[in-house]
Symmetry: C2
Subunit: 196 residues, 2 copies
């Protein structure tokens, strides 16, 4: 349907363009090709050499971000790992990288919402399945359906990431897990209650 290798052969510039675009569009979702090019230190025309249209750039970028997240998830949450531990590990690994994936939540609404949603869909399904597994094993609460709970926790990660919380030593993955996900679960969960 479409060529797998478009643009010049220098895969170097291509990667850099994607990196820069992730950064720029993460802050300003409706930035144009010109702004991305400028931020990458090239001219607008060059970007078109690698991505024939803005939408292709956006989708390529989203696809790569989703692939990365998928890899992290697969690595942190093998099927034989307890759901709560897997979830916490996943978020803990994702936490230092939120600035790279914030672009996804930013682009969900907007012109390409449909494509982004499709890409993200697979991740969110896996996440929901993980949460459901946790609920079945009794590790997570049943105060909300798995899908909603997963969404809430997932979005909380990015909300807190926007809050300068990176500079603190707060273990956000533990906070979200023990608060949102474990509501109503008996047992010791004071694990992370740092007294400030």
């Amino acid at each position: 349907m479409q060529k797998e290798s478009s643009g010049p052969r220098g895969g170097d510039t291509r990667e850099r363009l994607l990196d820069v675009a992730i950064e720029v569009l993460g802050k300003t979702p409706d930035a144009g090709m010109g702004e991305v090019a400028a931020a990458a230190g090239v001219v607008r025309r060059t970007v078109y050499g690698y991505f024939p249209s803005r939408s292709e750039l956006v989708v390529a970028l989203a696809r790569r971000a989703v692939d990365e997240i998928t890899a992290v998830l697969a690595e942190a949450a093998p099927v034989d790992k307890a759901a709560d531990v897997a979830w916490t590990d996943f978020i803990a690994r994702l936490w230092p990288l939120t600035h790279r994936y914030r672009v996804l939540v930013a682009l969900r609404r907007g012109e390409f919402g449909a494509d982004i949603h499709a890409l993200l869909g697979t991740v969110e399904q896996s996440l929901a399945a993980l949460v459901a597994r946790g609920q079945e094993s009794g590790a997570f609460g049943r105060h909300l359906p798995a899908g909603s709970l997963s969404q809430a926790a997932w979005s909380a990660v990015f909300t807190l990431a926007d809050d300068d919380l990176h500079r603190t030593e707060i273990d956000v993955s533990a906070v979200i897990t023990t608060s949102l996900l474990m509501l109503g679960v008996p047992g010791p969960r004071a694990k992370v209650l740092a007294e400030r």
Copy 2:
């Protein structure tokens, strides 16, 4: 600085335009004047009769939404009310109206992010103050700084609102309060643990 009454005298159409714009821009933040007009059953030219520019429309709409939220907050959270009760009441009242205010979170990023942020700032400050009050009284946990906690809870409301949760009987205000806000607080909080 600017005229308080712009446009024709029929304040009827003006209100309807704002209502429709809230709806339309809530779903498609970058919809144009034409789409708003069409959704309101008028012609593009008419909208310009009431709002001299798109940015004025957006800001007016945001201002009204923020005013409404401020009113609800003031009503639900008088200073003499316990912080946790006040918070729960506030969200409970807001919950049926989330579709009206979703536009605010949608417009935070985007061209008018600065203006929206300024408007929302006052609300979020009040909210943070309320959460801080709750932390001081021991009603809320101290696992996160008041500002971040407030943000997380606030955004969780809209995340869950996007999740078809309106059709269930789940008490979202109680869920958010008891999970996110009350982490680590001793005492009975099983209040809402509906067994599914």
